[in-house]
């Protein structure tokens, strides 16, 4: 009887020991991971494991893609109808505005110049098509891993775009994020809907620097710091400003479309106003992206890799 009790106590001690050991190891691990920088030992270990497993993930992604594409077709059809209705309404509104307004030639030139920038790919960048192969388990709209890495020329701060296939679109694509970490055969993208991303942005109709575009904790894009006297039009396109200093240039070149104004907050007298922006591309729904890696000296300087 006493022997049985001793065995039982020993088993309970082993059980508790195993659980406690794992809990302590996990705690030490995540504490060290949060404290160390991007180039820390644990970050590097994670990158190494990812690099080893990336080819397997690529094969699996390719195998699942036909099923996924079939499923997405239905969703895309619904989204395309919604987008068509929105553009139709916007078109109608613009026609009305155009008929009732005499355009200032200087303003027209400015808008044309902006549209020209949007219509072309950013200068000094080389496009690489990449597939999204993994997402975080908890918040899929913040980050993703793509199947291209340093072996394909991807660098930190490469720009991540979604090509616009809509024939009426005035731009070749829309910004969805930038590369934050690169391994040999994969890279981690942080989307513009992550609260850690901030972009100096303006609207096409205003042209001048307006404010800082940043996602709130919920992932909604907010353009803040806009002078209260600036009139912001609904549905106006929001673009990057490319602001920065010579020493610390912005990684985003100017004139890249991001989204459109979906709500304008009331301006305080003499204060600032806040605008809600809906991105042209939903990071949740992406399968493939276009990564622009810096190739010119200026682009490399922007990305901080030159």
């Amino acid at each position: 009887m006493e022997g049985t009790s001793r065995v039982s106590r020993r088993r309970i001690a082993i059980r508790r020991g195993v659980v406690l050991t794992f809990l302590v190891i996990s705690t030490l691990m995540f504490t060290a991971f949060f404290r160390e920088g991007q180039g820390g030992l644990l970050h590097d270990a994670k990158g190494a494991v990812t690099s080893v497993f990336a080819p397997v993930q690529n094969v699996a992604v390719a195998a699942v893609r036909p099923l996924r594409d079939g499923w997405n077709w239905f969703g895309d059809l619904r989204d395309a109808r919604t987008e068509r209705d929105r553009l139709r309404a916007e078109n109608e509104k613009l026609r009305t505005q155009l008929a009732g307004r005499t355009f200032d030639q200087a303003k027209l030139d400015e808008l044309s110049a902006l549209l020209k920038v949007q219509a072309e790919r950013p200068d000094g960048y080389r496009p690489v098509t990449a597939a999204i192969m993994a997402r975080p388990m908890v918040d899929v709209a913040r980050q993703a891993r793509i199947d291209k890495g340093s072996a394909d020329g991807i660098t930190v701060n490469s720009l991540v775009f979604v090509p616009r296939t809509d024939p009426t679109a005035t731009s070749f694509g829309t910004l969805v994020g930038k590369v934050d970490r690169v391994d040999t055969h994969s890279a981690e993208v942080t989307f513009i809907t992550a609260p850690t991303t901030s972009i100096a942005a303006s609207t096409v109709l205003n042209g001048t620097k307006l404010g800082l575009l940043r996602a709130n904790a919920s992932g909604d894009l907010v353009l803040s710091g806009i002078p209260g006297d600036k009139a912001i039009a609904m549905d106006d396109t929001v673009i990057t400003q490319g602001a920065g200093t010579d020493r610390f240039p912005s990684p985003y070149p100017p004139g890249i479309p991001i989204g459109y104004v979906s709500s304008v907050g009331r301006a305080e007298p003499g204060g600032e106003q806040t605008v809600q922006v809906t991105p042209f591309a939903d990071p949740n729904a992406l399968d493939t992206v276009l990564v622009f890696t810096p190739s010119s000296a200026q682009a490399k300087r922007r990305a901080g890799v030159g």
């Binding site: 059980r15 659980v19 995540f30 644990l42 994670k46 497993f53 388990m137 908890v138 980050q143 993208v189």
Partner: protein
């Protein structure tokens, strides 16, 4: 002699009872992790900010069928593997939650009444909901988390629902591969 060793590794006892001590649970966890990091991120669920967590459902199944030690070990290995192989700014956070869930669910292996599928589905759903809740709380403490008003409906609830949906199939597979619940712990490998 060789047969005896193979039987012990594969877990087929002298009485022919199925259920592995090491090999089959490890294989189940490996397959679940593989599916988790390859197929699951490609499964579209509209506006939800969640990728279904198959690994935690398998961890709960292993815990319920093999006890605390197997549950905690599977939770640690599975959670860490998922964190290593998916993007995100955590390492050890999901593993911590998975160890706690695996250890807790392992207590059900010692019940005199066999665990029913609906109890397993409840445990799996709660476990699947607790993982993102814990990650969300840690992120909030770091100042980068989703607000609770978004975390609960957009992340935790979908995870919980996905867990409940996947549970019956995982339970069916686990029962066929591992047989009835029995505790496997160091020092009682002959059990």
């Amino acid at each position: 002699m060789t047969t005896n060793v193979l039987e012990r590794v594969a877990g087929v006892g002298a009485d022919g009872r199925r259920g592995s001590k090491v090999l089959i649970p490890a294989a189940m966890l490996a397959v679940a992790t593989f599916v988790q990091v390859t197929v699951m991120p490609r499964v579209g669920f509209g506006e939800f900010r969640a990728v279904p967590n198959l690994v935690i459902v398998v961890v709960v199944a292993l815990a319920v069928l093999r006890g605390v030690v197997v549950g905690a070990t599977a939770g640690f290995v599975g959670g860490l593997a998922v964190e290593l192989l998916t993007p995100g700014q955590t390492l050890g956070v999901i593993a911590f939650a998975s160890v706690a869930i695996g250890a807790w669910c392992g207590r059900y292996a010692a019940l005199s009444e066999p665990v029913r599928w609906w109890l397993f589905a409840t445990l799996a759903a709660v476990g699947a909901g607790l993982v993102p809740f814990w990650v969300g709380i840690v992120d909030l403490l770091r100042g980068v988390g989703l607000p609770l008003a978004v975390l609960m409906p957009d992340v935790v609830m979908p995870h919980l629902t996905f867990g409940a949906i996947m549970a019956p199939a995982v339970w069916w597979v686990a029962r066929r591969l591992l047989g009835s619940p029995r505790i496997v712990e160091p020092g009682m490998m002959r059990a």
